[in-house]
Every structure is written in structure tokens, then in C-alpha cells.
Subunit: 246 residues, 2 copies
DNA sequence: AGTCCCAATTGATCTGGGTCAAAGTTGGCC
DNA sequence: GGCCAACTTTGACCCAGATCAATTGGGACT
């Protein structure tokens, strides 16, 4: 509920990561966008949006990590999406937010006021195309995740999550997929459990098991080395190199 | 692999159900579409598309029911979507199919050759808008389903599935949501199990339990009466009236 | 009416992951 | 440096749902 922090200049991070609109923007459009665009920062743990609240903007993550979660009234919660830099948030054409959006780390969002964004979308077909493309990717990811939630064992679930995060953490480097990989887990054990439909105890046990079996190395709680990505993906039960997934 | 069955006339079902493109079509566009549109029939049990195969069309279901499934190489399968009349199939801008599409009942599809459809989409912004809207609905449904798969008990899962099917089977009638409702299950116990991440035995047991407890009445294996939809939705653990969901 | 076949039910038993409980770690802050 | 709170690990036990195994039922054929 802070006052939005306006930046009347061209987005400095867009050329690399902020694909939502900007990757296909040209300078003219950015000038036009400036009056409806703003940045906003959220602290780790802060709720960006509550499910059901009116959303006055759409936007995308510039830096940091946020999660989409659903909660039942008895407290059971399920994470339904992970928002990494460049991911889009919000839904043109619908007022209420469908999920809780929670900042896991400090997050910078690039926001567009909803009304003018929708008008811009009407005038600019390629924005709708780009959004469609991104939404289809998210749909694929969600459906891939349904297989994880519905049919995989706890160990496979953990391995699946780790390989997704590892894959999103580095450039794809096609062909060369079974090299060592090092990254920091951006999630607590509880958040992992909420993503995987497990309890945090089970997550912890399976992480220990994967460590014991040499599939991963743990340095502290969060810093992870995967000596062999191929092995990890086998553990995940992935048949192919699994193109999409969050 | 039959030869597509051309119908150079205006789609006779579109005004009611075939929303994918036609709901917002006017006569002019339909005339244009005729050269790229065709109908095709699939028998119950037939595979419409295998995951990974090249898809030469997009389209939508006119009548009948099909399922989207993913399979692991050891045979575990998870249904990731249910295609009811008016639902869209395929992905403009991507060649390979991501999932198996299987006809559960006899299915009539209204197909558009992919290339010309994509070109048409370029020229006709409202098609992209409509597709975006539909894809966002599907994404919401998939995410709602992630909560079902990840956090609900077997009984709640069954109740969730029944209430979705019941809801899609009749006009919404807003306000009046706890009336008796009668419908035919379009799925076998096994298909239900694949949707819910359960075994077919558990599905059967929970169906029996819901029947014993008076939540549903069974007439034969498939014909179902729900005396009180409110009760069913309570059993499903849905807090609200649950706007979306497939 | 009989029989064949497949869907569905029901029972008995087993087990992966949940639950409850108690230590152990780690990083932030004074 | 030491303390505190939050996060994590580990152990013991239990139960919902899986697995294995018979039956049962019902519709489509002769």
C-alpha cells in the first residue's frame, strides 16, 4: 500500500529479463508505456496480493522470487506457481486475484495500471500474442506439475523440483545437459512442501536421502550442488529432457 | 487418419456451443473460415493425438468428451485436462502435441488447419484475445486442480470431480446453487482415478461411501443424482462457490 | 435365456508418507 | 561473542490409500 514508485525512464532491465511486454517492445512503445508503468518493491515474506482482492495492475517480476498459493479454510495450502524474473502476474480482463501472491525473497515488480494496459493491448496485437504464448507456457507447466502432484513419489517430487529450479537458474546450454550445477534454493522446506503436496518433514527426509545417495550435495541448508543433472532427472522420473515446466 | 470431412456450409452448432472462435464470429469471417475448417469424428477410445506427434490442426470439441493425459514410461498416467464441448485443443505457435488426447465418448471435433489459422489469427486480433481468455480459464482450472491433487483427501477429490462435472453439465443458474442435480458420469472409474491421482479401487470405495452417506445416489454405474449440491461442495472442501475449475 | 466380457465392487493386507515430538543448526541482533 | 528465534533434521508411531485378489453385475451378442 505504499505509493507506487514512478520511473519515467526506460526500463533498464527489460532488454535481458523482462520479457512480458518489453522483449518485443520498441522504443516508441516504451515511451507510451511510461505513463502507465511503475516499479514497486516488496520485502521477503510480504504478501503482494491476497486471493479475491481487486487487482489494479498487471505486471511482471523483475528480480526476486514470488509464489502463487491457494489455501483451504482449514489451512491446507498448495503452491500453484513459482514466479521467477520475467514471469507475468495478473489477468487482463478479470478484476479479482485468483491466488495469493507472496514474495519469497525481496521482489521488484514492474507494474502496469490495468485499465490502460488493457487499452494498450487492444491497440497492440503483438502484446496479446505474446501474452497468449506466455500463458500457454504456464499452462503447460501447470499440467506438467499435475503429473508430479498426482503420480510421483516423494523422492521423485523433490528431484523434479530441484531439476526445475536448476534449469531455470542457468542458461539452457542445449545438448550439454548432464554437467555439474550449483545453485541456491530460494525456498524454505515448508515452501517446498507446499509446492509438492508433502509435509516439511518428508521434504527434509528426502533431501537427506538424496544427499546420502550422492544425487545432491548440500552446503548449509540452501546451497546445492548437483554433480550429475542426468542422474537427478532420472530420479525425477522424467522420461525426456522435459522441455517446459515452470 | 481418415480424410477430413469437409462441410462448406456455416457451422450449425457454433451459435450455441462452439465458442473457441465462432462465438464472436460474424458471418463474413465464417465464410472466410470455411476453406480452412473441417469436421472430424473420433470413436470412443480412439486416440486423437499422441504426445509428441506433429499437430497439423487446432480446433475445438463440438460434441462428446475427450481427455488430456500424460504418461510416465512405467505406465503411471495422469489426466491433465478434460475436454468438454466448446473446449479448445491445440497450440498455435507450437508444432508438437504436449499430451495424449483420447476420445472418451464418440467425439466430433471442429478443426482448423494450423497454418491458415495462425495467419487468420495475425489478421484478426479478437481471435487472439478470445484464445487468451480461454487459455487463462484453463490455467485457472489447472491450478485449482493442483490444490485437489496436492492437498485433498480421496473423498474430497471424488466430491470435487463430481461437482465439476455437475456444474459443467447444466446451465449455471446463479444464486440457486443447491438444487438436486442429475447427470451421467462420462468417465470410467479408471479415468476418474487418473484424473484424481488415485487408484480405481479407491475411487470405487469412495463412491460407495458417498452413496452410503446419502451425498449422491447411484442408478446403475454411471447415472448420478445429487440431492443437494451444497452438501456435495462441502464434501469437496470448497470454501466458496468456486468460480472456475475446468 | 444364456454366455461372454469388461466395468465395478469388495475384502485383506501392506506401506509411504503423515503426525507428533524432540533435538540440532544457523544467522541476525544486541 | 552470545543469545534468540526461526528453520531444519531426526525418531517413533500410525493411518489413508495402494496393492493383491476374488467376486459381482450388466449390457451386447447370439
Amino acid at each position: 500500500m505504499n505509493t507506487p514508485n514512478f520511473k519515467p525512464t526506460k526500463c533498464d532491465v527489460c532488454p535481458i529479463r523482462h520479457r512480458a511486454v518489453c522483449a518485443r517492445c520498441n522504443a516508441d512503445e516504451l515511451v507510451e508505456l511510461d505513463s502507465i508503468k511503475y516499479y514497486r518493491t516488496y520485502e521477503a515474506g510480504q504478501t503482494v496480493i491476497w486471493a479475491g482482492d481487486k487487482m489494479s495492475f498487471v505486471g511482471s517480476v523483475v528480480s526476486g522470487i514470488a509464489t502463487l498459493t491457494q489455501t483451504m479454510e482449514d489451512g491446507r495450502t498448495q503452491m500453484v506457481g513459482l514466479l521467477l524474473p520475467s514471469d507475468f502476474v495478473g489477468r487482463p480482463g478479470r478484476d479479482g486475484a485468483a491466488y495469493n501472491v507472496i514474495a519469497t525473497t525481496d521482489v521488484v515488480m514492474c507494474c502496469f495500471r490495468k485499465k490502460p494496459f488493457e487499452e494498450l493491448m487492444e491497440r497492440t496485437p503483438h502484446i496479446a500474442h505474446r501474452l497468449l504464448e506466455m500463458t500457454l507456457d504456464e499452462l503447460d507447466a501447470a499440467r506438467e506439475w499435475m503429473l508430479v502432484l498426482g503420480r510421483k513419489t516423494a523422492r521423485e517430487k523433490i528431484a523434479s523440483l530441484l531439476s526445475i529450479i536448476a534449469r531455470r537458474n542457468t542458461a539452457p546450454t542445449p545438448g550439454e545437459s548432464s554437467d555439474a550445477m550449483v545453485f541456491d534454493l530460494p525456498l524454505t522446506r515448508e515452501a517446498m512442501a507446499d509446492y509438492l503436496g508433502l509435509t516439511l518433514e518428508t521434504v527434509s527426509r528426502q533431501m537427506s536421502a538424496l544427499k546420502r545417495d550422492g544425487v545432491i550435495q548440500l552446503d548449509g541448508k540452501r546451497h546445492i550442488t548437483v554433480p550429475d543433472m542426468g542422474r537427478l532427472m532420472e530420479e525425477a522420473g522424467d522420461d525426456s529432457d522435459g522441455g517446459f515446466l515452470i
